[in-house]
Amino acid sequence: MIRSLLSNDLPRSLPLALILGVILICLALAPFLFPGVRTVDTAARICVFIVLVASYDLLLGYGGIVSFAHTMFFGIGAYGVALASTHMGRGFDSIAVGAVAGALLAAILALVIGLFSLRVRAIFFAMITLAVASAVAVLVSQLSGLTGGEDGLTFKTPRELGPAFKFGKEAFDGVLFGVKLNGKLLAYYFIFIGALVLFLAMLRVVNSPFGRVLQAIRENDFRAEAIGYRVVYYRVAATCLSAAVAALAGSLYAVWLRYVGPDTSLSMEIMIDILLMVVIGGMGTMYGAVIGATLFVLAQNYLQNLMGAASELTSGLPLVPELLNADRWLLWLGVLFILSVYFFPTGIVGRLRNNG
């Protein structure tokens, strides 16, 4: 049962299996284990980013293609839900329409970009996606009539997913294990289950024959072509698939935040975050996405406080406080990123698997 759920791609290492198990249990029971607005918000962010990073890993780790437009696809999904909910009224139908439309648009855009760049050279893709993504980000902030510009859009999700909706009054008196049974709880589980399904689907994809061909192309595209696989088709298909899943992750994020804006869904910073998560977790394994996203989001939320404290402690020294300033944490992540590409390109998962 578990074997088929995980598409026969088991963790293959005891520590890794334990870590993954702990993450799964924590995320599944997050509202009960860590009640509190901020912790549940962190858990939801982790769920969304696991899907987003896994979809990026499909491209980077399995396909060997670097894209800088992944936040663009993420943003398309988020804006899809926001626009549909604004114009069609709140409801599950508008979420579904927005998510499907966003995923389709993302896939079509990926198809066009992919056909243009991948047929020539895989590195064109990295450069072209960087250019296109920045143009789209500027476009979204300029077209304020449609997208709300820099302010973004605030919209209403179905009543069942809002904090005002209460349920379980008769059976549990509205409280279960000390947690209020309201729409926010339902919204969390909506995100969690959505993320879990998408993640398992992606695990299935990378362990399918299609995923194997992708890996072969990553290792040696010339040889793969010689064996008879059309490299361009496979690469473009991977791009489209990964774009569509990223858009769906964006939709989930929009449902959770009930807001979209350039900073939360389109900015280059998120792109860099995704890159860091993939590399630190481990390229070329879906489990790397889980570990990378979890570690990174936790660090983002809690490490900054630590750095702020360290900065205050060293306030007597020259330059050191600025280096340790909480706003400079990207500096240290950048250093960590370079070091991990050099010294352990397979990331945490690769390390654990080798030792186990």
Partner: protein, 343 residues
């Protein structure tokens, strides 16, 4: 026995199309200028826009030329190239601020002297940084595109953050030197003086680069290295050293471009290199990766088109560059002047 058919070799006349094909990229620049003239229909605004387009193109070329050569020579794609642009701008502007008495004086010579000093400072700093960047970041990942992209992107993040640590997170507004402020009027068109300087510097850099590449021995080695590196090495040249030299020169040029770009925009931020990268990539792709001439033509095209479109339809200017790139890649998928590798 029949006689052998009369020997009548036929040489098909080269069609006009075939004859013009190699020169098409060069002809595109005047073509776009003429198209802009037809669309704008006002000679004086057209002249203003053309000069500013050329100035912008020249600056982009200065920033992009190093990137394209580095790729051509060693197949190294440097996503951190924008870091040199930012560092160049910050160092250069800091020098200019120190030389306040020279920039505020109304004498052209003193002003140009100050700019020259700033440029030298910026180029020295970025050249040194290029050397360190090559040693620390690029060298361990030769021949591995994926890692190159990731690592150089990481380098860009680190450098950007270090700039914020050293110069603070706020954007810095700057004033151009006295003699370069304002505009001159020529044939009814107002042309900013600084843009003329930018066009001049760009032309000088392009011609100097062409001269080095075409007429000197080191240029010969570089061109041969782009075409077939292994053969050059087999002939006994240490291509590795040449490559480091080209990397340093390219970084210094990016620094020069950064100073000029900063003075052009009159504001510098730590992220300016990142924004410049987008234009640089577009130019390098449409020019053909590795080709200096292609890069030059591409930069002029981007500069001109962006200025014309911004005048005609401001909203469309955002996507005009992308549209140009798409059109060129449909016409020539490897860029306008593709570099042919002998393999």
């Amino acid at each position: 026995m029949t006689a052998a058919p009369e020997h009548a070799p036929k040489m098909a006349e080269v069609t006009f199309r075939d004859r013009i094909a190699p020169h098409m990229p060069v002809l595109l620049v005047p073509l776009i200028a003429i198209a802009g003239f037809i669309a704008i229909q006002n000679p004086s605004s057209w002249l203003t826009l053309t000069v500013s387009g050329l100035a912008m193109g020249m600056m982009i070329f200065i920033m992009a030329s190093g990137l394209t050569l580095v790729f051509g020579l060693m197949d190294v794609i440097n996503f951190g190239h924008g870091a040199f642009v930012s560092v160049g701008a910050f160092v250069g502007i800091s020098v200019l601020m120190l030389l306040g008495h020279m920039t505020e004086a109304p004498s052209l010579m003193l002003n140009l002297g100050a700019i020259l000093l700033a440029v030298i400072g910026a180029m020295l700093a970025t050249g040194l940084m290029g050397w360190a960047f090559e040693k620390v970041i690029v060298e361990p990942v030769y021949g591995h595109h994926l890692k190159q992209i990731l690592v150089t992107m990481g380098g860009l993040i680190v450098v950007e953050q270090l700039i914020i640590v050293l110069w603070g997170p706020e954007e810095i507004y700057i004033l151009r030197p006295e003699a370069l402020k304002g505009a001159i009027t020529f044939a009814g068109a107002a042309i900013e003086k600084y843009r003329l300087v930018a066009v001049g510097v760009g032309l000088v850099v392009f011609l100097a680069m062409r001269w080095v590449l075409r007429r000197t021995k080191i240029g010969l080695i570089v061109r041969a290295g782009v075409e077939n590196g292994e053969m050059v090495q087999a002939l006994g040249y240490r291509l590795r050293l040449v490559f480091v030299g080209v990397f340093i020169a390219g970084s210094a040029l990016a620094g020069l471009g950064g100073v000029m770009w900063g003075l052009y925009q009159e504001v510098i931020t730590a992220h300016m290199g990142n924004h410049a990268m987008i234009l640089i990539f577009i130019v390098v792709i449409i020019g053909g990766l590795g080709s200096v001439e292609g890069c030059f033509i591409g930069a002029l095209l981007v500069g001109l088109l962006q200025n014309y479109i911004a005048f005609i339809e401001p909203k469309a200017a955002l996507i005009s560059n992308i549209a140009l790139m798409v059109a060129i890649l449909m016409w020539r998928p490897m860029g306008m002047i593709p570099v042919v590798k002998a393999k």
